[in-house]
Symmetry: C2
DNA sequence: GCAGATCGGCTAGCAGCGCTAGGATCGGAG
DNA sequence: CTCCGATCCTAGCGCTGCTAGCCGATCTGC
């Protein structure tokens, strides 16, 4: 009994090690440096061990992405709660969101460019994946007026995501990030609100 | 002389063949199916021939992406010119842009997810890459008010890109695309303009 | 306490990838 | 006719994700 629980604990630990190693490697050297051999060396086990934990490499990347969604939601929540007033909350959320994307590009990539088959926009969407969206929803809800708050949140989210992506790939000059954010907020939360 | 020109012509043709084959393969089976071997078989030459035309596989993908930028700019231009009034032009541009992304997902991916090292947002950005942006700029310019039109166009572009990407990966329900687009336009081009 | 089943992790290898070295072949020039 | 240069191919390198099959350690039943 105890032996078995110890084994399960060790196994769970190792699984976390794998995810952590993948994340760290991706964040320091980019996802193209994350190979199953490299990962195996990092956790000091042989390569096939990875496959007793995950179905494949993409499953490992998905696990990293899920971590990312949790952290992103946390950071956005903290920023939103600290802000006073609707417009400030929206601005705080926007800044936190794009800041996260800029601060952790590899993680953000795992979440939005790679792990494509996560169950989003479905009734069974796990809470971890919904939380980030809910933060945006909370922030922009007062601005909905006649519009559906959900649609509004989706659209605002998409705008933030688009900014993050285009800036990250150098398609938009990075130094004007603040100006773009200001403009976006001015269009969604006009004047004094 | 004539022989040499014939050779050059054939060579240019073959180069176009390669790009066309890469694009078609990507659009029908996805980019993961586009391998240099597959490509070589498609043009009925051996694999190393590809490398006498392009520096590597990514260069081929970049060539496909450039084609995409030209076509996207064309489609957006046609839509914008056909529209009357500022708001209608903005709506037309938005619909054409997101429609292109939905109609040609592989091509759009090559343009924005893969070919990362295209010279954007720099003084020497080639016209092909600027044209699409300029169409957006033309459309939204009248809405700038006190804001910089360039910043406005960048932000609007980012919103469209974000919508396209999130919808494509199933992170936003596809059937509400129109509602999101309407809302976005209502925020950038309010009421009767 | 010991034989047999079970499980966990390893070594080795497969098919496929992007890319390249080196040789054959073929056309034009002297 | 011979040589030379360009063109294209075969073969192969080092890497990838992934898997088959073995082997030792541990757990189970007698």
């Amino acid at each position: 009994m105890t032996i078995q629980t110890r084994r399960e604990r060790e196994r769970a630990q190792r699984e976390q090690q794998i995810v952590a190693a993948a994340r760290e490697l991706a964040e320091t050297e980019g996802w193209e440096a994350v190979t199953t051999r490299r990962l195996a060396a990092e956790i000091e086990y042989s390569q096939p061990v990875l496959y007793s934990h995950f179905k494949g490499k993409t499953a490992i990347m998905t696990a990293v992405a899920v971590q990312g969604f949790e952290e992103l939601a946390d950071e956005v929540r903290v920023a939103r709660i600290a802000a006073h007033g609707t417009r400030e909350a929206v601005a705080a959320v926007a800044t936190a969101y794009t800041g996260f994307a800029r601060k952790r590009p590899a993680l953000y990539d795992a979440m939005f460019t790679h792990a494509v088959d996560l169950p989003f926009a479905r009734p069974d969407t796990p809470v971890h994946l919904r939380n980030g969206f809910d933060e945006i929803l909370q922030a922009v809800q007062p601005l909905a007026a006649d519009d559906d708050p959900g649609i509004l949140a989706e659209t605002f989210w998409a705008s933030l995501h688009g900014l993050a992506m285009l800036e990250r790939s150098g398609r938009l000059p990075a130094d004007l990030h603040g100006a773009r954010l200001d403009l976006l907020i001015s269009r969604f939360a006009p004047a004094a609100t």
